[in-house]
Structures are given as C-alpha cells and as structure tokens.
Amino acid sequence: MGGKSALRLSSMLLLACAALLVGCSKRQRSLEVFVGSATKPVLEEAATLFEKQTGIKVLLHFGGSGKMLSELKLARRGDLYVPGSSDYMELAKRERLVLPETEKWLTYLVPSINVPAGNPKDIRSLEDLARPGIRVGIARPDAVCVGLYAVEILERAGLAERVRPNIVTHAESCEKTAQLVALGTVDAVLGWEVFEHWQPDKIKSVLLAPEQVARIGYIPAAVSVFSKERRLARQFVDFLVGDQGQALFRKWRYFASAEEARKLALPDTAVGGEWKLPPGW
C-alpha cells in the first residue's frame, strides 16, 4: 500500500511541476540570442538594460561563433544571431539560417598583437614575433575568424615564413586565444585590439603598424529564421545600434564606427569581406 500511494503521489508532483514550468515560460516574453564570445561584456549589460526598459527578458548563449551557429541550426530555435565576425554571418546567410534583410552592423574590431600584461618579452611590432625563442599563438585559421585574419596579416606582411616556426599552438576559439596571453602561456597572440579591455590587468594590446592591418572586422547581428518573436528581435537589434547600445560598446572600448576603427589602420582598409586561407595552414 505504501509503495503504490508513494508512486501516485510522486507522479502527481511531477505533473504539477511540469505544468508550472510550462505556465511560467509563457508568462514572460523573452528573446533567445546566440552570441559569439567577442561581444560578451557588452551584450550582457545591454540585455539587462533592455529588460529593465521593456520588460522583455533576453537569454544569452555564449560560445564560439561557429559553435553557436551549429547549435542554432541543430536545435532549430533562437531569435537572434550575433557572431564575433562577419564571415560567420556570411555562412549563416548562405545556409539560410538568418533573414538577410534584418542584418545590421553593431561594432568594429581591429586586429592587433596581444601580450601578457607587463609585456615580458618586450614585443613592439609584428617583426618582433619572428625573434628566436618567442612563443606565438593564433586561433585555428580554418575555424576561427581572428585566426584567419592573423594568417592574412602575416602573409600580407611577408612575415609568414619567419613567424611560423614560432607559432606553438592554435587555439580553438576566440576566447581561448585571449586566454593564452591572460595566463601567460605564450608570449604573444594575434587577436583583437579589444582583448585588452576585456582583462586590462592581464592583457595588453600592441598595435600593428597601420599598413599591416589587413582588414577591419565588424560584428553583425541578424534575426534568425526560426524566431517566433521577429518584431521583438528587431527591437533589440535597434536598441544595440541605437544610442544606448552604442554607448555601451564605447564604454567597453569597441569601435562604434568604421572611421574610428580606421584610425588604427589606413583610410582605405577593407571592412569585412572574405579571404581564402592558403593551403599549408
């Protein structure tokens, strides 16, 4: 008798919990955003601010841009996609996972050299990366945007052959690349200039010479085809490109416009676009 009634009681409780959960989720309107880690600090603040102002909850998924897109594709859900670089948005558009007409550009990224705080090996320029004994890290060029940019920069500067022996590792994601210098595991990486502002006490950026900046990256956002709240999603994107959103980007030292970004490069440096990885990398 004890066993049977216990079983009945627990199954009733389970059903009650399930009902409660379902009910709860319908009550508050929310957005689900898949974000490449490159904009983590800004998106977190923006989400909180947006929720305070509109009452719409923004659920953020962070991870590598490619992994985020995979999840979006596999699970067939999500309202917004904000990758860490433009090439992933191109891929998303090719795979028809986002609505191209909703794409807006949020901010701009400039590639640079990053070193551990204190710059122990006194790296001042791209050429210094070729010094014997220097340990350099880049992101996997075939999988991560900032890695591809790194290779392009090295090839264009003609330093690929000299720096390559010093490259001791490929990190598998953007944030892992930053982690390499934050932990001091390598002497330098080729990453984004904004890495320094993620962890100012651990990472320092050493700017490239303006002509060495191969291209300027930008961070786009677009509404996913699986979104059931397209209007709300657009609202959030507008928020991000609007004054409040841009103020947050500026606060975290991202570049708000192409012109600002070009200050570290040449006036005609390309923004975004694609580049093919040469064989052998």
């Binding site: 066993g3 995979s70 490929h170």
Partner: protein, 259 residues
C-alpha cells in the same frame, strides 16, 4: 512479472536501453549510415584517431600503474585523515575539465613546473601535456574503483598468506592482486573511456593544432565551430564506435573471471 517491483526493474532496464538506442539512432538518421565510413577515409581523421588512441592508452596505463598501489594503500592502511586524502585524489574526476586544464597550465607557468617544462619535457602545447591531462582524469576514476576493490577483500587472506611464508609483497602478488583482477579491468576501462572522450582538459593544455594535438573530441568541436554538422556527427559516431571497440578488446582479450 509477479509484482510492481519487478515491473519497475523492467522499466528501468528497458528505459535505459531505449535511451542509448535513441542516441545512436538520432545521429545515424542525421548523417546516414555511410557517412562515418566516408569520414574515416580522410587522412586527418585517421591521424586524429591514432593520436586519440595512443595518448589515451598510454595515459590510462600510467594512471593504472599509479592507481593500483594508491588504491591498495588507501584500502589497507588506517590513518587519521584518510577520508580527506581520498577526497583529494578524486578531485580531478569531479573538477570541470576546463578548470583542470587551466590548473595544469598554471602548474607549468612558474616555479618548479616551469623549470620542468623548459628543461626536462615540454608539456604545454605538446603531446606529453595531453597525456598528462588524460592521466589526471583517468587516475581519479581508477583509484576510486581500485580502492573499493581492495576494500572488499578480507585482509585475513593476506594474513594467512604471510603466515604461510609470504612477505607482504609476495602476499599481495600471489593473493590480493589475482583476486582484484575484475576490479583492475573495470578501473582501466573506466579510466580509458573517460580519457578518450576528454575535451576540456586536453584542449586547454595542448591546444588544437591540426596534425599535432588534434584528438577526436577536438575534431568534433572544430567541426561544430565551422558549422560542418554532418562531419561533426559522423566523427561523433566514429568516436563512439572506436571507444566501443576498445572496450570490447579489453574485455575479450582479458576475460573477466567470475569468482
């Protein structure tokens, strides 16, 4: 089925089997049954498999070599603080793999660790580092199993063996060790399985350099990172098959004995 208890057991077994079957079926349905074989033909995939198998087996064996005496000592000796030490041993198993990887990097970043990394063996971003990471996760599991195995043996068997003329080591070798055979097997298989699937710890300390430190789990991750989902799922099925074959190999070759 005579009563509700046996019915519940049946449900549990049936449920578990169904869940496992669904997992595999869902993957196969996505890629089709031939995709894993197609992917197996690629040389970088073969390299990745070879690397995974090599590092995992070496790491698990090394872990076993250390877990065996450790588990035995923990089971036989009584000393104050034994429970605390056991908890310490288990830490790598309960730590988040990523955290373990970071801890390993920090270990080699300064002090004696750095000296070893620079002058003795390079661990960071090298294969020894991968083996080390896998060693840690395998060891923690293996020591748990082996300690339980040796605890379940009556100490009297060793006492009698010693009174029949064996030194402590001989008693261990002739009595305790043979009796622990099944436990040793289980420990090794568990450690091996955990190590071959590890991603967080190995990728953090060894990076993800194609052809050098790219294990199967890293390949799967990178496929997801490039949104090559078919390849990711195919590799995942392949990893499952490879692990299964490894498990079967250990069991068929070293048949567990029923005592």
């Amino acid at each position: 089925m005579r009563n509700w208890f046996e019915g519940a057991l049946l449900l549990a077994v049936g449920g578990s089997v169904s869940l496992m079957a669904f997992l595999l079926a869902a993957q196969l349905a996505y890629t089709g049954p031939f995709a894993p074989f197609a992917v197996l033909g690629q040389s970088d995939v073969q390299q990745s498999i070879r690397l995974s198998l090599l590092t995992t087996t070496v790491a698990s064996l090394l872990a076993l070599a250390m877990a065996l005496p450790t588990g035995y000592a923990l089971a036989r000796w009584e000393f104050p603080g034994r429970a605390a030490i056991e908890c310490l041993m288990v830490v790598p198993a309960i730590m988040s793999p990523m955290a373990l990887g970071v801890a390993l990097i920090l270990m080699f970043r300064s002090g004696p660790g750095q000296w070893v990394d620079e002058h003795v063996v390079r661990f960071v971003f090298e294969i020894p580092g991968m083996i080390l990471a896998q060693f840690f996760v395998a060891f923690a599991l293996e020591v748990l199993v082996l300690r339980a195995t040796f605890s379940s043996q009556s100490p009297r068997l060793e006492h009698v063996a010693r009174l029949l003329g064996c030194t402590h080591f001989q008693a261990f070798r002739r009595v305790s060790l043979p009796l622990a055979r099944n436990g040793i097997l289980a420990a090794f298989v568990l450690g091996w399985a955990r190590a071959i699937g590890d991603f967080g710890a190995t990728s953090t300390i060894a990076g993800a350099v194609r052809g050098k430190t790219e294990t199967m789990p890293v390949s799967i991750y990178l496929s997801l990172a490039t949104v090559s989902l078919d390849r990711a799922v195919a590799l995942s099925i392949l990893l499952t098959v490879v692990s299964l074959l490894g498990y079967l190999a250990v069991h068929l070759v070293l048949r567990p004995r029923s005592t």
